[in-house]
Amino acid sequence: MKRPGLGTALAVVAFLTFFLGPFFWQVLTSLWPDGELTRPWPSHLTLESYASVLWGRPFLRVVANSLLVAALTTAFCLTMGAAAAFALAKLEFRGRGLLLSAALAVSMFPPIATVSPLYLILRAAGLRDSLIGLALPYATFALPLTLWVLTSFFRQLPDELYRAARVDGCTPFQAFRRVLLPLAAPGLATTAILVFIFAWNEFLYALTFLSTPEKRTVPVAISLFASEYREPWGEIAAASVVATLPLVVLTVLFQRRIVSGLTAGAVKE
């Protein structure tokens, strides 16, 4: 590697400050003693805000809710999406292109466009204010994402594998289950991470369809943190760090996969 010039170094520092600075400021705020937020700098660091968020509020419950919804959405979309993506990538049938374009079009919907009917449907089904009911509308955006990313992963697997399995007497479904699905494991992992992050971060549907405080998800709980008289910034920061740190770790660890998944989903071919 060449030694970086001064310009490169400055640009790296500038971008790092812009992208990481606010996150570090958040971490610092979460460790800042409560009475001192008006001062320019904390006199010492403390875990008070974490203690009051984790034990003084039902925040762990909220985290568990988000985990449940995100896990359900991921399982639901991957099960259906993998089968469909395999067919889209390897089998000949009419309407393949149409289905992929439709999925792409759906992922560009403004979520607000489907809120009113989904609200009425969930209410009629008795699934409003239910975490399981929430995972269903999440498929509106998670399923198209799954289809796009997984189809491009299945396409990368050589056709010969599928044909060989067929010659050996597998049905297309058996070829999928026994040969291609295991090979697509990295693709499934990437898709699972993307869908999980998406579901964990979703706000509009969760805000609209859930009403009981104990059922809130993390983004909704954080958005409604303000108390009547003052904004508990230290607690908000602590809750934000708790809600974000797993994602940040996930992203840094699986950076390559996430990037390939995102660009596979976006830049076709």
């Binding site: 809120v115 049905t171 479904f173 971060n201 706000f203 934000s240 809600a243 950076q255």
Partner: protein
């Protein structure tokens, strides 16, 4: 193997494999969109349970509703400025990420941090930094303290900054994917010809990057046009509705006023705007494909 029968069987299994996904998409996307259009043709207040067909009345009202037009204006302004700034920042960032230097892996991983943070959390984090009394931004900037989120004129730009922070990395990744598709030989040849760095950027990088840039533009503008989370958490559309976007106005009408008829009309209008935007972009993209 039994030739035609096997193909027939393959097609049948293909339909079986895609059927669940298709059914779900119909149930959670196609049906709700059509139902929203149907609802928008009604006067329908949720709490009263009153529901009657009124045809295009809601849309006639919408066209004369100044709050709708200002929400449309805010949305368009937000989209235009945010996406422009994001592209202008993403190109140099992508060029940097495409270069070999120690610490590149670290930079790549860290630019994804804002992308991974829930939008609501990033809005909260910025709201704290924008705090007029003890926010870090006022502390760092010289001059009088500014009420960033409370002053008309400032608030929408503050929201744009939050969006830029969050999504520039994604745009940069799309551009980076485009950059990596440009053959290295072109640069080698240009260097032999004695071309300057700027000249190579203008004559090689930029033209070959155009499809990736247009694609990023398409994705990002459709995404920015439906903005809800960040602005809802930062300002709830205030001050004086100066940050109210179409999604926020529709949300308030639906969920706070319980007016499902007019709220659906606003949602459908938002949807139609996105469709028009997409059609325009796809046409431009299509022309680009042809001219290449």
């Amino acid at each position: 193997m039994s030739g035609g029968g096997s193909l027939e069987r393959e097609r049948r299994q293909a339909y079986l494999l895609v059927a669940p996904a298709v059914l779900v998409l119909v149930g959670v996307a196609l049906y709700p969109i059509l139902a929203a259009v149907w609802l928008s043709l009604h006067r329908f207040i949720l709490v009263f349970g009153e529901r009657r067909f009124t045809g295009l009345d809601n849309f006639a009202f919408l066209l004369s509703d100044s709050r709708f037009w200002s929400a449309l204006g805010n949305t368009a302004y937000f989209t235009l400025v945010a996406v422009t700034v994001e592209l202008l920042l993403a190109v140099p960032l992508a060029l940097l990420l495409n270069r070999a230097f120690p610490g590149r892996g670290l930079l790549r991983a860290s630019v994804l941090v804002p992308w991974a943070i829930p939008t609501v959390v990033s809005a909260r984090l910025w709201a704290w930094m924008f705090n007029p009394e003890y926010g870090v931004i006022n502390r760092l900037l010289p001059g009088p303290d500014i009420n960033w989120l409370g002053a008309p004129g400032y608030a929408l730009h503050a929201a744009i900054l939050v969006d830029v922070w969050k999504t520039t990395p994604f745009v940069a990744l799309l551009v980076l994917a485009g950059l990596q598709g440009i053959p290295e030989d072109l640069y080698k040849a240009a260097r032999v010809d004695g071309a300057s760095t700027w000249r190579m950027f203008r004559s090689i990088t930029l033209p070959l990057l155009k499809p990736a840039l247009l694609l990023a533009l398409l994705f990002r503008s459709l995404d920015a046009f439906r903005v809800f989370d960040a602005i809802y958490v930062l300002t709830e559309g205030g001050p004086a509705n100066t940050t109210e976007t179409l999604s926020i106005y529709a949300y308030k009408t639906l969920m706070r006023s319980g007016d499902f008829g007019y709220g659906s009309a606003l949602s459908v209008a938002t949807f139609l705007c996105v469709v028009v935007l997409a059609a325009v972009w796809l046409r431009l993209l299509g022309r680009e494909e042809v001219s290449r």
